[in-house]
Amino acid sequence: MADIAIAPRRAKTEIREASAWDQLKHNRNWLGFWFMVPALAFLIFFLAYPLGLGIWLSFTDTRIGRVGHYIGTENYEWLWDDAIFWLSVFNTLLYTFVASAIKFGIGLYLALLLNENMPFKAMLRALVLIPFIVPTVLSALAFWWIFDSQFSIISWSLKHLGIISQNINFLGDTTWARICVIFANIWRGVPFVAITLLAGLQTVSPSLYEAATLDGATRWQVFRHITYPLLTPIIAVVMTFSVLFTFTDFQLIWAMTRGGPVNATHLMATLSYQRAIIAGQLGEGAAISSAMIPFLLAAIMISWFGLQRRKWQQGENND
């Protein structure tokens, strides 16, 4: 304290009235707005604008090279009577539900496995990520070869083992083609689910497991009563994303089957692309894309309710 009193007084700067500009410079809301602008610009130009344009296009008869006119819901009425469109809706739902369910099962299993103490744990965790790292088109091409009607390694192996006598027409048969694309999607999607759930598992304090063990829980009971309930929030997040990615999948299908055979693997995204870009009917393609919105909104609503903070997560934290 003493040295402050001893220090020589500095000449005071003259106090002037704060101008409106000065006040604005110190206004936190004004400053905050400018920090928000870049993110807002991104969202508007890259998300809101394309989405709005897509929806607008779906109400026009735009073709490539020709400005369209507003035609009301004609595109949708047309789609309503289009069997191929409904087949693609069915395919998309089948693809999404089957692939997501299996991805969840395998992902959870892998996450639990990788959470155990075992040799080469770090390396195994890295290995699990490989399908996720490989570019989708590249892995799709690999699968294309694996499932090729003539050169398929699976057919070749099975033939040499004497199990089958003829090549399996993996991508030429409607059922096989569906199984193959779902398989490829699972292969590609499992790492995301597994690694995210693993991260969730690692936030569970080991002492909870120990306490449950002392309370007399078997391994299954520990999973059922401790691990699974504590993991539900992260499961809701990861499965929402997984469902959204699967529902809107395009690359894998396009690279492997282009929607064939006989539209058996056409998803809404691939059909939309085919109609809009390949066939040039931008309006109709946009209508197919826009038809995905209700499904996606439904998925988001489900996750919204799933993600609501559970009662046990509420209340202040006294840690």
């Binding site: 304090s205 002492s207 007399g216 504590l230 046990w312 209340g315 006294n318």
Partner: protein
């Protein structure tokens, strides 16, 4: 309730041995505190008792049963963890009733058990809350409630109070002790805080570097520590140690640092000139004309007593007085240790030399 026998227990993690043959007998209904600095192996020993760690060699028995290869849930013990380990997604009632539920008890049975424990711990109004909605002390009580509900043979506490603030810690200390007096369940309590050990224990086990340094009642450990480590660990402020030589020619005495003369009631036989460590507790100093001269460095009054840090023969010592002396830094005082309460330790082994 059961007795517990720990016999020559060793524990190694890989090639690294952390417990070097520990034997502790625990009687039925006894409150035993394992105390020691961090890394002494006390928590590991407790976890071995709970069955959360394997026993490398030696035996642990609960009652008449050797439990080395018995699953944790079959050992009939309950543990209170340092972070409480409450299940965050369960209400207080569900947390407390979880073990009964797993045992397949009927819902009425569970709610009776939970209510009984909740009454003992005054948790009844909180039964529907979630752990996040509780304060630290309340969580601590829920963790104890979860242990009580099970009515186990042995309670294990792993540093249960170290996450609480100082005031609450003192209150919970009393509560745990009272609980033990009421339930009379054999208890093993691990802490690094010697005050907790002194205030709660029937028997204190002082551990250090994987061995038991001394076992005994709190006052035994305080009055006659077996070695310099125990002497320095038990008691607050810690015992003062002064290096020097024993004098037993003529009357017994001790020559401290820089030739300071210190009193000694009796010298060990044949010990004239033997280098030793002279230990005196801060509360055993008095101001006397025949004391050794010391210069006061810092005076810390706490109200009930005053701690005085002083230089005695160039070494800093601390003395505690209940009387209110008017000291200020720089004052010269004559400090005299009470010769009957002085401790003498071997300079190299640290073993106690006087009776």
């Amino acid at each position: 309730m059961s007795s517990v026998q720990i016999r020559d227990v060793r524990k190694s993690f890989g090639n690294f041995e952390v417990l070097h043959g520990v034997s502790i007998p625990i009687e039925d209904g006894e409150f035993v505190v394992l105390v020691g600095p961090s890394g002494c192996g006390k928590s590991t020993l407790l976890r071995m008792l709970a069955g959360l760690e394997n026993i490398t060699s030696g035996t642990i028995s609960i009652g008449d049963r050797v439990v080395n290869n018995v699953q944790p849930k079959e050992r009939d013990i309950a543990m209170v963890f340092q972070n409480y380990a409450l299940y965050p997604h369960m209400t207080v009632a569900d947390n407390m009733g979880f073990s009964l539920k797993l045992r397949g008890a009927k819902p009425e049975e569970i709610s009776t058990g939970v209510k009984r424990a909740a009454e003992i711990l005054a948790l009844t109004p909180l039964l529907d809350r979630y752990p996040r909605q509780l304060s630290g002390g309340q969580r601590q009580r829920v963790a104890m409630g979860r242990a009580i509900v099970r009515d186990p043979q042995v309670f294990l506490f792993d540093e249960p109070l170290s996450n609480l603030d100082a005031k609450l810690r003192v209150a919970m200390r009393t509560e745990i002790k009272e609980l033990h007096q009421r339930l009379k369940t054999t208890t093993v309590y691990v802490t690094h805080d010697q005050i907790e050990a002194m205030t709660m224990a029937d028997k204190i086990v002082v551990m250090h570097d994987g061995i038991v340094e001394q076992m005994g009642t709190p006052l035994e450990l305080y009055d006659s520590p077996a070695n310099q480590f125990v002497a320095g660990f038990i008691g607050s402020p810690a015992m003062n140690f002064l290096k020097g030589k024993v004098k037993s020619n003529g009357s017994a005495g001790f020559e401290g640092p820089n030739g300071v003369k210190l009193p000694l009631a009796t010298a060990p036989a044949n010990s004239d000139g033997q280098p030793a460590v002279y230990g005196v507790r801060p509360e055993h100093f008095t101001i006397a004309d025949d004391g050794a001269e010391a210069e006061i460095v810092v005076v810390e009054p706490t109200g009930s007593e005053t701690q005085v840090f002083a230089k005695l023969g160039g070494e800093q010592v601390v003395a505690v007085f209940r009387e209110r002396h008017q000291f200020s830094p720089g004052d010269k005082v004559r400090l005299k240790p009470d010769p009957s309460l002085v401790h003498l330790f071997d300079e190299t082994t640290g073993k106690r030399l006087n009776g």
